[in-house]
Amino acid sequence: MRIALIDGSEGGHPDRSSALRSELERRRHEVAVLSVTADDVATAERARFSLSSRLTRRLTGAPSLPHAWDVLARGFRRRLAALAPELVLARGAVAAFVAIQPATTRLIVELDRVATLELANGWFVDALDLAATHQRETAVLERASVVAVTHRDGGQLLCESFPGVRGLATRLIEAPDGISPRDGLPVNRDAAIVCPSRLVHVDDPLLLAALVARLTRTVRSFGPPGPAYSFLPAPPEPLGVGEAASIGLVTGLSDRLSRLRSQRPGQWIERGIPILAPHWLAIDGALEPAVARYSEATFEADVEAAFEPDRFARLKAQVQRLRTLRSWSSTLSILVDSIEAC
């Protein structure tokens, strides 16, 4: 099959697109990749406010400026048409919307973020923009033959957010991220707890700083260094080369959108490290045996429970098992099967 894989700008696991492509090509499909980058989206946003756009609006009496997704779709239409795909696999709502025409091309969408809800969570929300985004996201969900999410809670959120989309629940599949094994760290119960050096918003850096301050155990940071922020304390000392780690500390925001977006649990497993994660974080169920959960109120006790010898040994064993078993090929098979069944 000729497949166009449109990579969206909404983030997600950095290895997922290449893993999808590899898996599809392994099954002898022809895959062409297009990307809708953050720059493309920003350019489309600016183009909305261009002189020609505003003039057109005045002349036609349109109630609002063109939607950024419409501007993007116009720009991508020709490129997509040149590929003449039999099926489009789009990652994200914006990527899917640019492929919504022609109606004859089969469309499968990966959707872990709800654009409408994220727009609604900003300040100074323009009601017309919000309604227009909702309308377009609805069109994507109605058009897609299959909607893939990485966690079942994401599917539930979509169904709750778009109750008017008929048959959505029956078209949902769960295709979690795989594990891309990277150089493992030595793991030792007596070693330091590790946290990420470079933080993004969904890591909830404020919570991380507060929890690290409560730990009596040694904490080290791991990974490429991030910028220093005045509103946060300095990060812990970096883990030394060859130094062992015990557990990877994961924090995250608890709101219904952000709790679905953390990549950290998988990243610690990639390094062979068991995970300490907040109870509200949505983690792939298959990874749960490698996870010790905590709540903010009982954090210290939850940490010590994770370090009980038998418990720690089980967590460590599970991580090693998952590193080998949770391949991209295994987690994406349901999605690739769905593509082939279309």
């Binding site: 920003a42 946003e45 600016r46 406010f49 409408t116 809800l117 994220e118 727009l119 609604a120 969570n121 900003g122 300040w123 100074f124 929300v125 323009d126 009601a127 923009d129 919000l130 309604a131 985004t133 909702h134 709750e160 957010s161 109750p163 933080l199 993004v200 918003h201 969904v202 850096p205 404020l206 919570l207 507060a210 910028p227 922020y229 005045s230 509103f231 304390p233 925001l253 608890s254 709101d255 959108l257």
Partner: protein, 358 residues
């Protein structure tokens, strides 16, 4: 400041829009200061400036005006403040607070209803670099102020623990949000109704409000300065418009609060809560909102899963009557005259009000 003369106070806000609940404390402060014989002038941004600020928030990078609008506002306000001498400048919020960094020769008071950098942090996918920029800006304003006002005990405790600004704790005072006296109070009804009065920013969680509207066995009516954008919500909101005063609350039986669940919102006080109490309305509040738990006799916590049962319990006739009476008693303790008293006393003492002044 000479003996026998009242203070000359400038109350500076970003918006003088009286339709907003956040304008209430500024209005109340003005009224109480005037009652005590002080001279008060309220200053704010031109509505056109506010529109430019809102547009700047929506317009992508590259099209935003080159000058920081807060600095433009501070320039405008400083010019006005220099036209006549003031003894006290009370700046409400960080946007208006930028003027406190100027050389004002007055007691500089920051009324700090929202910790802006944490508010920005709590919105959808903020840029941490921008959060940091806001923090540094906020820190500069706080450090320039002589007095910093927090609007609730839980918020004060949070600020003391969480906000890393040197010197803040010693200048921080708590002035709880208050309410006005009212001529009408709620009455029992065979067809009870629930009211939500406020705005629909994400911090108030219109999604939660919508879900509750769908669940509630009794109608939930919504009032506020602007109609909510609700086409994307699971249930449409029953928006009834804007009312110039709060007496409409007396037509309802329960006051509803919704608020997003984040670190700041858990400790932030709700402007509407004292007004609900003042009208004899028992209050339903999200269980994670700490302030609600300070009123066990007239407020009940809920989660989405318990909302219906909590509403039904609250509306049992005997219980409702008890809670309504308790609400009125609680409201007495929250009259603006009482809650603003310590602030007014601090302004008078720190500005050396003369012996001839009452």
């Amino acid at each position: 400041m000479s003996a026998g003369r009242g203070l000359r106070v400038a109350v500076v806000e970003l918006s003088l829009d009286l339709r907003s609940g956040t304008a209430r404390p500024g209005q109340a402060l003005e009224r109480i200061l005037r009652e005590r014989g002080h001279e008060v002038r309220r200053l704010g941004a031109d509505p056109r400036f506010l529109e430019r600020l809102r547009r700047r928030e929506r317009v992508p990078n590259g099209l935003a005006p080159s000058r920081d609008p807060d600095l433009a506002l501070a320039d405008h306000l400083e010019q006005t403040l220099r036209e006549q001498p003031f003894d006290v400048v009370v700046a409400r919020g960080i946007h208006a607070g930028r003027v406190l960094e100027r050389d004002l020769r007055a007691l500089r008071v920051l009324d700090w209803p929202n910790v802006s950098y944490i508010e920005e942090y709590s919105t959808s996918e903020p840029d941490l670099a921008r959060v940091d920029q806001l923090f540094r800006r906020e820190r500069a304003v706080v450090q320039a102020a002589d007095l910093v006002v927090s609007s609730g005990t839980h918020l004060t405790q949070f600020i003391e623990r969480q906000v890393p600004i040197e010197g803040l704790v010693r200048k921080l005072i708590t002035v709880p949000l208050g309410c006005d006296t009212t001529s009408r109070v709620a009455r029992p009804s065979a067809t009870p109704r629930i009211v939500y009065a406020g705005s629909y920013y994400p911090i108030q969680d219109p999604y939660l409000l919508s879900r509750l509207t769908g669940l509630s066995p009794f109608p939930i009516d919504c009032f506020g300065p602007r109609a909510p954008a609700d086409q994307h919500l699971p249930s449409r909101l029953a928006y009834r418009g804007y009312a110039a005063d709060e007496t409409f609350l007396a037509d309802y039986q329960v006051g509803l609060i919704t608020v997003a669940r984040d670190r700041l919102r858990e400790v932030s006080p709700a402007t509407k809560l004292p007004y609900y109490l003042a009208h004899g309305l028992p209050v339903l509040f999200p269980s994670w909102m700490r302030e609600g738990h300070d009123f066990p006799a007239c407020a009940m916590p809920y989660e989405e899963s318990t909302f219906v049962s909590q509403v039904r319990q609250m509306l049992e006739p005997d219980r409702w009557l008890r809670m309504s009476e308790a609400a009125l008693v609680a409201a007495e303790g929250r009259r603006w005259q009482r809650t603003l008293g310590p602030l007014v006393a601090a302004l008078e003492s720190r500005s050396n009000v003369g012996p001839g002044f009452r």
